[in-house]
């Protein structure tokens, strides 16, 4: 990956300093999201992975450096124009009380709408399609409050999908879900990547999930990127120990052959 200005990926950032008020999270960070990849950002808690995602989605303005989207500084686009190229599912989404599923999904059309064009036939077709793709069509007339966590996350994904953006950025989409719904959401992400051609960037907590689903892995520690590349090349026992401070063995996932980490047995020895 180049660190100069000649980066031709659709989404990249170089020389980024990311900070909340005075608290600096990352300094001189450079990252490129390979086009058509399913990029997953991993790292320990508070390593700055969500902060990086926020900067890539222009939710956080870098204190220094610039994120580029399709060759131009992301800050130079009108807000709606960014939202037509890049969809974001943040951690902190709130569904207003009593809002219906189709109503929430239809909110994703906002960047394509205007004062005189508030609900075109195209809007309706895209929303219908987004609900099909995420398997929430049958829930369309239900209220979001009534749904389970997994269903709700599918609805939010449908909303972002209705934005029809080539790039999708997802901040910890599997948090608070049980294992079955986590896999469900990740399968859906893989489907969006593989069958619908979206470039995905997701922050994930679980390294094994990341190694299984990512085509490109970005590993962060203390605000810096310590490794990136294909999971097979990146996930090694040495790296995991360095980044997470956890001794592990890396074995091939019996299902997918992707690297899988198994923590070293540290239980007290029984006689």
């Amino acid at each position: 990956m180049s660190t100069n200005g000649h980066d031709d990926t659709r989404l990249n950032g170089h020389g980024l300093t990311l900070a909340y008020d005075q608290r600096v999270i990352s300094r001189d960070l450079g990252v490129s999201i390979p086009d058509n990849s399913f990029t997953v950002i991993v790292g320990p808690n508070a390593c700055g992975k969500s902060t990086l995602l926020r900067a890539l989605s222009r939710t956080l303005k870098p204190a220094d450096g610039e994120v580029h989207l399709d060759g131009k500084a992301i800050g130079s686009y009108p807000a709606k124009e960014v939202a037509r190229r890049l969809g974001l599912l943040p951690q902190s989404s709130v569904a207003p009380d009593g809002i219906g599923v189709a109503d929430l999904v239809s909110r994703g059309r906002y960047p394509h709408q205007g004062f005189l064009r508030q609900w075109s036939a195209e809007d309706e077709a895209v929303v219908t399609d987004a609900m099909e793709a995420t398997g929430v069509t049958d829930l369309a007339d239900r209220s979001v409050d009534e749904l389970s966590g997994g269903q709700r996350q599918r609805v939010w994904l449908a909303m972002v999908l209705a934005q029809q953006t080539p790039l999708l950025l997802l901040d910890e989409p599997t948090t608070y879900l049980d294992i079955a719904h986590q896999m469900d959401v990740l399968d859906l992400c893989a489907d969006l990547h593989h069958n619908r051609g979206h470039t995905l960037v997701a922050v994930l907590h679980d390294l094994n999930h990341a190694a299984r689903y990512a085509t490109h892995l970005v590993v962060m520690k203390d605000g810096a990127i310590v490794a990136q590349g294909a999971p097979e090349d990146v996930v090694t026992a040495g790296l995991v120990e360095e980044v997470f401070g956890l001794p592990v063995r890396v074995v091939p996932d019996p299902e997918t052959k992707t690297p899988m980490i198994v923590p070293v047995d540290r239980r007290p020895q029984r006689a």
Binding site: T59, Q118, W119, E132, T137, L188
Partner: protein, 362 residues
């Protein structure tokens, strides 16, 4: 997933959101999403408030027959009818409508921005700030009605600015707005109490009555003031209505969808604060309308989010009904309307919350 995918591109049922009807004039070059239920609710509220307005213009020590009211409004009919209708009762009722609509819209905007049903100007301190400004004007400067209004507006806006700045950190957080507002309210109320203890008895009594909120003796000047404020500031807020609905999804989500959250926040906050200030300047700090009207409207329209038009219509209806009750409940004694709104609005809100809790929602 694969089974839903394999179904595409089959004949999918098209999905406009539940309870909406697409309207696409000019062969789809324009497109809107109508909400029949919201339209019906607003229509009913307009009819109810119009009827109540006619009724409150008609009744009193001097009775104007309902049938004579429409003519008298436009200056025709018996001399005394016209006098009572045009010079005293109509301006009062129109003030009630305007103040109610203004409070309803402002309350809805604050609730959207704070994502909190408690984020109304009553709770987050503006009402308290305006009241303190007005009381200071009465007690410290012996101000007349205009001075009191200016004091209320100044107090309200200063408080709004202070609350906004204190609650702001990477954008305004809803709960922080409510908590800061409650703190500021408490401080302001102690300032008022202090001013009261220093005041002459008659001044203190006047200030106390003003603080309940009243429409007694309001004339055409007040009608003009509140309706001009409503048209200008309400106009700005209606233009921001769509963006405000997105603010309810959370700052990051709204921004992800292409909403300029910062400018929306500042413009809506300023306009809603000024509108609240105008309403309070005209009628005193009438409680509960701003808190209850948006919530009631939302539940009646089942719109899944705030509706500004619904909140305006509900606020106007609430206040005009409350004013009729204030006029007639203990006639010939007139109650301040603030007493009635507190009873009506508060009771209805508690009942609503109670039924929702019982129903397992909210």
């Amino acid at each position: 997933m694969s089974d839903t995918l394999s179904k595409r591109p089959g004949p999918a049922r098209s999905h406009a959101p539940h309870g909406t009807v697409p309207v696409r004039p000019l062969r789809g070059r324009l497109s809107f999403l109508a909400r029949p239920r919201t339209l019906a609710v607003v229509l009913v509220l307009v009819l109810v408030s119009a009827f109540t307005l006619a009724l409150s213009v008609s009744v009193g020590d001097y009775e104007v027959p309902l049938s004579a009211v429409p003519a008298a409004i436009f200056g025709y009919g018996e001399h005394l009818d016209v006098f009572f209708v045009q010079d005293t009762r109509l301006p009062r009722a129109l003030t009630a409508l305007g103040v109610g609509a203004a409070l309803g819209v402002a309350g809805a905007v604050f609730q959207s921005l704070s994502r909190n049903a408690l984020g109304s100007p009553d709770i987050i301190g503006f009402t308290s700030g305006a009241a303190t400004g007005a009381v200071a004007a009465i007690l410290a400067f012996g101000a007349g009605r205009l001075g009191v209004s200016l004091g209320a507006i100044a107090g309200g806006l200063i408080t709004a600015a202070v609350v906004y700045l204190l609650a702001m950190k990477n954008g305004v957080q809803g709960y922080r707005l409510v908590l800061v507002g409650i703190g500021i309210s408490a401080m302001l109320s102690s300032v008022r109490d202090y001013l009261m203890t220093r005041a002459e008895l008659t001044d203190a009594l006047g200030a106390q009555i003003w603080m309940i909120g009243s429409l007694n003796g309001r004339g055409w000047a007040e009608v003009a003031a509140v309706w001009i404020a409503f048209v200008l500031l309400g106009g700005v807020l209606f233009a921001y209505a769509r963006r405000l609905r997105f603010m309810e999804l959370g700052d990051d989500t709204a921004r992800g969808l292409g909403v300029n959250t910062r400018s929306t926040q500042i413009v809506a906050f300023a306009a809603a604060s000024a509108l609240t200030g105008a309403a309070i300047a005209v009628a005193g700090p009438i409680g509960f309308v701003a808190l209850a009207a948006p919530q009631l409207a939302r539940r009646l329209t089942r719109s899944g989010g705030t509706t500004l038009v619904g909140a305006a219509a509900m606020g106007a209806t609430l206040l005009v009904v409350a004013d009729l009750v204030a006029l007639r409940a203990l006639a010939p004694t007139q109650l301040p309307v603030g007493v009635v709104t507190a009873v009506i609005g508060g009771t209805y809100l508690i009942w609503l919350l109670y039924t929702e809790w019982r129903g397992g929602r909210a």
